[in-house]
Symmetry: D2
Subunit: 320 residues, 4 copies
Amino acid sequence: MQRIGVLTSGGDASGMNSCIRAVVRKAIYHGLEIIGINRGYSGFVDADMGPMNLGSVADIIGRGGTILHTARSKRFQTKEGRALAFENVQRFGVQGLVVIGGDGSFTGASIFQQEYGIPVIGVPGTIDNDIAGTDYTIGFDTAVNNVVEAINKIRDTATSHERTFVIEVMGRNSGNIALAAGLAGGAESILIPEIPFNVEDICKKLLSGIKRGKLHSVILVAEGAASGIEIGQEIKEFTGFDTKVTILGHLQRGGSPSAFDRILAARLGAKAVELLMAGETNKMVGMKAGEIVASDLSEVIGKASPINKEMYELAKILSI
Amino acid sequence: MQRIGVLTSGGDASGMNSCIRAVVRKAIYHGLEIIGINRGYSGFVDADMGPMNLGSVADIIGRGGTILHTARSKRFQTKEGRALAFENVQRFGVQGLVVIGGDGSFTGASIFQQEYGIPVIGVPGTIDNDIAGTDYTIGFDTAVNNVVEAINKIRDTATSHERTFVIEVMGRNSGNIALAAGLAGGAESILIPEIPFNVEDICKKLLSGIKRGKLHSVILVAEGAASGIEIGQEIKEFTGFDTKVTILGHLQRGGSPSAFDRILAARLGAKAVELLMAGETNKMVGMKAGEIVASDLSEVIGKASPINKEMYELAKILSI
Amino acid sequence: MQRIGVLTSGGDASGMNSCIRAVVRKAIYHGLEIIGINRGYSGFVDADMGPMNLGSVADIIGRGGTILHTARSKRFQTKEGRALAFENVQRFGVQGLVVIGGDGSFTGASIFQQEYGIPVIGVPGTIDNDIAGTDYTIGFDTAVNNVVEAINKIRDTATSHERTFVIEVMGRNSGNIALAAGLAGGAESILIPEIPFNVEDICKKLLSGIKRGKLHSVILVAEGAASGIEIGQEIKEFTGFDTKVTILGHLQRGGSPSAFDRILAARLGAKAVELLMAGETNKMVGMKAGEIVASDLSEVIGKASPINKEMYELAKILSI
Amino acid sequence: MQRIGVLTSGGDASGMNSCIRAVVRKAIYHGLEIIGINRGYSGFVDADMGPMNLGSVADIIGRGGTILHTARSKRFQTKEGRALAFENVQRFGVQGLVVIGGDGSFTGASIFQQEYGIPVIGVPGTIDNDIAGTDYTIGFDTAVNNVVEAINKIRDTATSHERTFVIEVMGRNSGNIALAAGLAGGAESILIPEIPFNVEDICKKLLSGIKRGKLHSVILVAEGAASGIEIGQEIKEFTGFDTKVTILGHLQRGGSPSAFDRILAARLGAKAVELLMAGETNKMVGMKAGEIVASDLSEVIGKASPINKEMYELAKILSI
């Protein structure tokens, strides 16, 4: 292993830059060369790539997003596209690949590895924390902190006006962001795709809270569970309360990464380089029970990453 | 003047608490008593009010929202409602009133003063910065900083994905928040109700930016100018760009007040007490050209507060 | 178990309030009564305590510090002081005690339990993360984020002036804060008490960095390893560089708790109540390998909590 | 005027980058060329300078510090040094100079202009807000917000431990940062060089506050007024209170600029270019009474910028 390629793929996540920095510096520390591939598989197909050095990653540790950019590539999903990517692998002398992204990105990496034999290591980078094989994905902690900060601000106005607020958060098919931010932010109800819910029950809880003197309520809705706007409408109809809806959208992704995400990103990125150096392939690095570990990509791709039910129950108990 | 009442009314704004603290402490410093009226004119009508002391305002200087709460009151708009409020004025011995709020709140205060002769002083507290007679309203600086912070986060993801983002911000009929945040955040285009705009021109600017190598664009839309969702749709249709829309909503209002808002709030609140002590009435305090001044409420209510055209032109020049 | 007492002791840590809230709400959820004890063991001796309800913990989830206050108590270290505390236990009907604090606080709890048989459960709350039996203590993640944020700001000025900065951080005898913040903040060198260091080596690294084009350097010093001021002086003498020193001090403790600390605090607080309800005593709750677990206090008190050597090596590799 | 040079000099201030961006973009908008001079007058003497374009200032609007770096230059204080700088003026075809900095930087600019006739315009960039001819300098609002944020965090721990905290802040010979941050942060006492103070009086106020039930106190000390460590020692001796000292140091300078500083920087930078285009020289741009104005450098250099006494009195009244 003399030259490693690195790319970010899928939705951007805060901490991806800290991970790129770790991959580059760890590789250079061990005397390897490193090729940065821009715009995910799209740049891989288009040869939008080039050498990186220590200076390429100076001053990026604290910046959100990814300096390598990211994109969805339809062409890499075709045999022709992947053939072009392999040409670029040969042209740039890439002998191993670090792919920072989510489930879809790993699927692409796995197929490419099978077709062309180039070693690939996946690093879980997505705010959704929905990847099997790791307790945390890069970007999740920052996203949860972004949501908690937004809840804090909205709670100021909710308290002042004695209103009910519905906040829709990201997470695709996963309720992880909603659950963690809801527990951390003290949300009165948390609606996630993993647990059936009933708007009538939520409204009854709201009404009994009001009776007990609660001045406001915050309902967190995972985008995979329901539409915040529809839930807001239903609550308004049932309770008659002045109900406002906020859809946090893409601001959840950005911002300077949290310390937790930076450390996770550094450890995972360095481990990915170690695995390539050790001749491994088709693995994903992850953090399980506090340890940095490697799983087979086949055990990760398409596998469910269940929510923590104990945390869900706790959130319910603490929001009485 | 022995006893002053204070209330917050209309939309909450960060810094209202700093202002309440200043009113209470300034009054107590001069040996006055102070009555806090909860939930705006609603609590005034309902006698939801009571004495405040130094301890009532301990530890609130840095908290968003308003500890006195705020509400819209339909009853205070009726003669009967105001008669009830006057009964409470007599019952609680209130001899002067400080009203922290916006245009509608001042209208109510002015009518009440004319009917019952009780001295009133208005303090401009609204994130919209749309009040004549003051260069800045309490809450505006914090709201603009909230929007700029959101732009920063969205720009991380916009850059990573090379996307166009439309961000809808508050301001009711005013473009002040959009203009200030757009200039501070480096938005590519700013759509405000005070200046006619044309989506085609915006799109052409986007396209020429892309040609020149710009990787992303942020368009700021004041809620009074257009719907962010509609503008996003039109841009997508015209340019074919992957265009995302974020509606910041109520998180703009909250959060710990900025230093600027805290100082403004302290100065305005103290001045309001001074005016009541000096026998003044029907005035609004404000900051004009760096000085704390008083205007007649009649010169303020319903008057336009034009945007700074020079800043608008500057924002255009700097976003080339 | 009908009535539980809760206190915070030792240095305050952000997230203690989230933990108090969890203890109170979890207890009330299960029909228990809860007594809040103010100012740590000091209030325990002085009967500065009283019942808490749902309202006592409203709106505290996001506030730094501890609403129960904390203090060091010399009297509780005496037999007489503990006898007074036991009188208060009887007077207030306290049947079990949750102690949120660090090593010293657990020692006091353990002695008290042995002498009077009252069940006690410890919850690790200290920014230092130096407690055996848990991977994380409440307040550590927030403190590390505070330090990283300070590094970010100092790096702006360090880069602009091309200077070397020495930043002294807290941690008493532990290098955990320095190590985590140094890895997350990209510090050029990290000085901790667990690992011998040599200022000459640090200076040589600085000089070779400058040669390679580095414009600035940040050195993190754990207070238990050395004095920041002395290290700054030595570096200045050896290298001749314009070296500035910042001692972050108590601002590391405060601020709204991070999402991670809030969730950890909620889970640990709830578990402490569960243990008391299950008839347990002399335990500390903690998070090990992602799970909430209980350890015997005797296995925790006075035990070393070693740093993560792998992380230390990684920080060195990434700061080349 | 075809080609303008721009440099930053003296202590760095957050918002300098927003100002550089405005100078560059405004100049390019009007068809001018722009030369960036690195490391202040030091780079001017050493020819460390080169052309800037739109891309040079992409993505810097929200970054603290200055991309042009800054340094103190002893050589520019000599005739020989300035002769070298003039050679570089001729070599790079610079026809006008924008100097972003403080009093010392303007002095250098003024002498250079007198000796070599090259038009110079000063832009006030310093966190100290101690420049005559402008109500605000670039970086002041951000620095004050940084201090207020630190006060917030320290207050959490101060309240929890019922302690007295002394916080030393920057400002050189000016009390402006201490005064603004003290008023905004609700400090119990503010020690500034412009107003005589007496530690005994401060202690008596502390003691009477404690009697009245205050749980903690925060004393702000401007570095130009006294040493925080000495004041802390004196308070401890007089009152016997557990008194902690924090010296905020360089973290006050950095961080992403506030919206206020970004807007101020944009307006001042653009105005500086306009003045050069209009054939003006030896002026400083500033904001007076909300308007962007120009003053003669001779009326600015060495002139006192008095504090706002009304604000000082208000801070005293509100801290009863």
